[in-house]
């Protein structure tokens, strides 16, 4: 009986991701979009859990739901609200969108069928140790480069918003 649980959860999470993704684009209020985005992130975290990558799943929720969505809502609250019509993008750019989506969808489908018989990515004992080893040993230098870049961005942001001392 437990064998059908994993595909069932996978199906639920897929519906959640795709459904809320469509909702983010289609919703006519920006707060709804932001909240649906948080829901999509939660579902992606669920996918990571199914793959046995619980550390990445929790970091996903911590950063994307706990910080980024909140900052987006923070921005939304300072912006004047005006309801925009439903499905704004699809009404004006329907054919362009279809033209772009179809080849990508075919490519993704072809690639995903290649994975059919690959072994499960789930690891025993969690993914904390492999993750830590890859970040702090195998890819330590790129990691440091990324952190220096982020530090520079942070300093730049502070300089930009700093008020002159009167």
């Amino acid at each position: 009986m437990f064998d059908i649980l994993e595909p069932a959860f996978f199906a639920l999470l897929t519906i959640g991701i795709v459904g809320s993704g469509v909702g983010v684009v289609m919703a006519n209020r920006i707060t709804t979009s932001a909240l649906l985005m948080a829901f999509a992130f939660l579902n992606v975290a669920g996918m990571f859990l199914l793959l046995g990558a619980e550390t990445i799943a929790f970091f996903q929720v911590l950063i994307y739901v706990g910080a980024i969505t909140v900052l987006i809502l923070y921005g939304v609250m300072f912006t004047p609200q005006s309801p925009r019509p439903y499905g704004l993008f699809f009404q004006t750019q329907k054919w362009w969108a279809a033209l772009l989506v179809v080849p990508i969808a075919i490519f993704v489908a072809v690639v995903s069928f290649q994975f059919k018989d690959s072994p499960s990515a789930g690891t025993k004992g969690g993914d904390l140790l492999p993750l830590a080893t890859s970040v702090f040993r195998d890819f330590a230098f790129p990691f440091e480069v990324a952190s220096v870049l982020l530090l520079a961005a942070m300093v730049g942001a502070i300089v930009l918003v700093k008020r002159d001392e009167e």
Binding site: L35, V65, A67, Y74
Partner: protein, 375 residues
Amino acid sequence: MPVGPFGLDPVIWAPLRLIIAVLLAVGLVFNGALAQIYLERKIQAIIQDRLGPLHTGPWGLLQTFADAIKLLGKEDIRARLTDKWFFLAAPSIVFSPMLASYVVIPFAPGIVGADLSVGLLYLTTLGSMTVLGIVIAGWASNNKYSLIGGLRSAGQLISYEVPQILSLVTVVLVVGTLSMVGIAESQPGWQMNFLVLPLAFVTYFIAGLAETNRNPFDLPEAESELVAGFLTEYSGMRWAIFFLAEYGEVTVVSSIVTTLWFGAWHGPFVEVFPLLGVLWFTLKTYFFVLVFMWIRATLPRLRIDQLMSLCWKVLIPLTLVNLMVTAILLLAFPTTLVPVAIANWILLAGFVLALPYFQRRRLVALRERLRTAAA
């Protein structure tokens, strides 16, 4: 046919276990909140030289029950211009992450919902999800006081997450595991982490006060400035759910403190009767709950800029220095924790002694500026 615990088929046992666990957690939160509200009233009364609840039941013990029944019976009011679905969803968005936190809290040897290998990360993750609910509550109420409360809450919670996580990381460095059970087992007898890392405990406790919106950091709901902050438009049971979440969050923070720094279930006679661990764990946790209430009754509220400068200029540099010193000392002396402990106690003493000095210097500078402005 495989047989699980109590001779039950695992197919029946797994969902049953889930239901029992959720019911237990809900019971813990509800009863804990009832007890804590009573304690809060009594302790504030004692500190303010009053008597507190006295007439409903013996020593006023039934007062919170009466209040709970009153809240349950209240009409569910929603102002017309509020945002319906967001307004209705916000209390559950705040409440459910708090409830889910109880999964990894180690009450006693063997009494834990799930021993996750990343339990501590799980707890911080759930703590960060509460912000979303508070921001939505503030925005959906369509009320300027609620909105300001929600915004303050977002700024405060995101800022204080940084020193909070940095303090937790210091403990993880020393213990070497993220599992709550692993951390609890690493402190047998009197070898509590508090003796090694007192500064991390102090910084975590301050950040925890801010994370739970408690005094002196209760700016999102400061009643003298914002009516009731993000709670202004809520009434009845929806309002009560926010309060249940707050008291549940206080319990979660206290149990994290107990687990990480004060040896979790360890105490006299636990080796003989493992169930006694629940008693020790509860006593230690409620001690910190009482400290929360003591602080609420004694300290005045901070101003919003003081709140932010305390976090960014004091706590974050302090926790970063603490983390670096701990990491270097752990690398230099891999076999003993004594150098880490000495460094931590020195840092704590420096922190405690330096604060009044810098406060006085700021005060002198402020007076100087006022004098020149007047002249």
